[in-house]
Amino acid sequence: MSARTAWPVLIARSLAQLPSPLGLLPLIAALIAWQLLAPPNSPYFPPPSSWWTGIAQSAASGALWRAGAASLQTIVFGLLLATAAGVTLGILIGVSPRLARAMGPLLEFCRAMPPPAIVPLAILFLGYDERMKLTIVVISAMWPILLNTASAAQRVHPILLDVATAFRLTLLQRIRLIVFPSVMPSVLLGVRIALPLCIVLTLLVEILTSIEGVGALMIAAQRNYQSGQVYGLLVLVGLFGFLINTGFSIVQTIILRRWPPRNIQA
């Protein structure tokens, strides 16, 4: 892949890497069978056509848009903050072996803590609000970014650090001009793992606490036995995840066009 390739070509190439659309056939066949076989008013397996009505109702009342906006906001801010925190801590730990040793067990314990377990804790301290939702998303989604950044920062080649010294870079210049670009591919890899985590965690907190968002909308639909809407929202959420993953891999390809190709798959 050439570094001079124009963006549209890069986008087209990333899209060409998606699997053949023929592969959607089993899914489509299953949905058609479901539509034909399911009783129209089934409370458990409502036919796909009723999923659409469920969603349309929710959209007409405005609830869907409000919930979508709230969830999207948490996901976006959560990802940004998790990236900032993960990269900063990761670089600090990566460049200082002493800090890595000192913080090791503590970080290991925090990382092993399943995010749902800290939800009740966060509720106690922060109460039921947007801040609490964001805190949980950031704390839990930051780990893959932190770990990827730290291990890449530890692997920056000693020769490159010699180059920095030979050119008499200050510590800040060293981090900005040498370490940060070196870890960039790994940071993006970490963000790619953190992205679906942000979505999951946002929904999780909304389902657990009923704070406004798509998760809360789903659990409310389930409580009211609006089964069509439950399935419809599930499909929407899945579609959203798929689009955002594909979108991010395009962004990744574009950013990494300057780096040697082997780093992209890493």
């Binding site: 020769i159 180059v163 010294t165 780096w259 040697p260 190709p261």
Partner: protein, 255 residues
Amino acid sequence: MAEPIFECRSASVALAFGGQARPIVSDIGLSVHEAEFLSIVGPSGTGKTTLLRMLGGLLRPTSGEIRMRGEVLTGPPDGVVIVFQDYGNALLQWRTVAANVAFGIERHLPRKECDERVAAVLELVGLSKRASDYPWQLSGGMQQRVQIARALALRPAVLLMDEPFAALDAMTKAGLQDELLRLRDQTGTSFVFITHDIEEAVYLGDRVAVLKGSPGRIDNIVDITLPSPRDQVTTRQLPEFLAYRYDLHQAIGHG
């Protein structure tokens, strides 16, 4: 004889291994004059890289001192630049060729002057056409030329080279050797060139220092009086060339 511009007086380096200080190079005395090409030849394990890192100010000598134009070094000095052996790691892979060459000067020069100087050194090493490519898109020989250009952009008085051609094939290596001599003539830069290849050391050098033993010591410095300009075919066939080669082999102890 004129004052040397770069000088190393009975300098030693010891590095810590498992809590113990182990001497790597010991009692090194060297001097480099303006526009001189000094080769240092030595087998592996004699501390060639340590010596070069010390000369470049990346390692402080445990005893002795290094002077640049009479000033004792305390860190990487102005006017001395290192070219590393593994260009793959020494270049910033995410910067274009031009941006790599600008790396040493971009923080100290105005934009316009920086661009001009980058264009000039790229012209000098014959890479003008690849200025906007990335290092990983170039061959090994071209990447090493980028590193040389990056060093030259700083207009150094002394260029320190650590086995710069060890990873390259014979043809590329020969081409780059002649290019170095041409650059020396055009820019008046002095070279300290470390290698394990005796023929390369003789072909390039005005003098060849032999590094030997563990810890490494300078065993012998040979003046090379071969006609200039040197030529890959005829110079290497001269009886004097073969005699130097024989003597240095003897000195290193390969018989």
